[in-house]
Symmetry: C2
Subunit: 211 residues, 2 copies
């Protein structure tokens, strides 16, 4: 490793530390209630260092949101690709539904979702980018997988993107909506979430399995 | 009409005028950005009059939220009751799905939904009451209707409440989620919404019609 790549790695690590600290402060106090001072303190960095990486609070907020969705996408990507190759679709869909629920009812993800919705009017570009890079990318990948499964004769999906959306919402709607209004504790027990994943897959296959 | 019932009717009308004005101010400026002065001006009333009906901004906010959900419930109630008596379930469900979409993608309802989600941490009681009186009551009624349709042999729903939830989200999830992140204009064209209602009904009946 040269001195310059070492410096780059250190810089990337520092940036990530600031993002992690900033995510905690933003989700706890909202956009308005967050100051660059508080983020610097939480990151154990000087305010000057924070400003070296992010020009202002808006840029920092955008950075936090995109970092969160990128990690979400990376969480789902390999599983969705593998799903296209399965020989036992029902089991594979159940596994994927459970994984989707586990990912979406993560406290940090729910808080970030709420924060982005709350700030969508103030920062329409952030709301749009969040949507495209989380829902948009992930469902596009799932739609591609559904299209491949249709080619293999395992599904019947004339509109793969709509089918991908419906699959996801059959599984996530109940806990996501409860969390939005009732708080993160209201998402339901692990047993309830598993039962919901299985029922979502049953409904999906009843409508989209070949006759 | 006695003088006292006339006074009551006048008082109820004035209260409703204040609520209507307050809803417009809250949805335009958020909770923090709304003052009792601005509401009084929008209602064409004195600040003193506003305080006669609502002790503070929090009580006014609660009043606005509950007024909105009560009107939503009254919008759906007769249709859900009638649905239980239908002899052409597919057509009746399609009508209901379209009506649900029309009700939910109303700009005022979307704004109120976003506002309540945004304030759910500050006012957990309001979030909870909104959820119980809108989602809770409406889906309970729809679950009762699904149970009646099951008794009549037209549906197979071992868990009517979960089926009611899934029916609703098959229909509303795509435009609601788009509106939350992309703004009210992103809900889709009337043609797209109708196609979505029909596809939601198809998926629902594939899973919940008796074999």
């Amino acid at each position: 490793m040269t001195a310059s790549t070492r410096a780059e790695a250190r810089s990337a690590r520092k940036r990530q530390e600031i993002l992690t600290a900033a995510r905690a402060v933003f989700t706890a106090h909202g956009y308005v209630g967050t100051s660059m001072d508080a983020v610097a303190a939480a990151a154990g960095a000087s305010k000057r260092t924070v400003y070296q990486y992010f020009a202002d609070k808006e840029e920092l907020f955008t950075g936090v949101v995109l970092d969160t969705v990128d990690r979400g996408y990376e969480y789902f990507k390999p599983a969705i690709r593998t799903l296209a190759e399965t020989d036992d679709l029902e089991t594979a869909l159940r596994d994927h539904a459970r994984m989707t629920l586990t990912g979406l009812v993560d406290r940090e993800i729910l808080q970030m979702r709420r924060l982005v919705i709350a700030e969508a009017e103030r920062f329409p570009a952030v709301g749009r980018e969040y949507f495209e890079r989380s829902w948009g990318r992930t469902l596009k990948l799932l739609a591609e997988t559904f299209a491949k499964l249709a080619e293999r004769g395992l599904l019947n999906v004339p509109d793969p993107e709509r089918a991908a959306y419906m699959f996801t919402w059959l599984v996530v709607s109940i806990p996501t909506n409860r969390a939005a209004f009732l708080g993160d504790e209201a998402v339901g027990s692990p047993e309830e979430l598993t039962a919901l994943a299985d029922e979502g897959v049953r409904v999906f296959l009843a409508a989209f399995a070949p006759q």
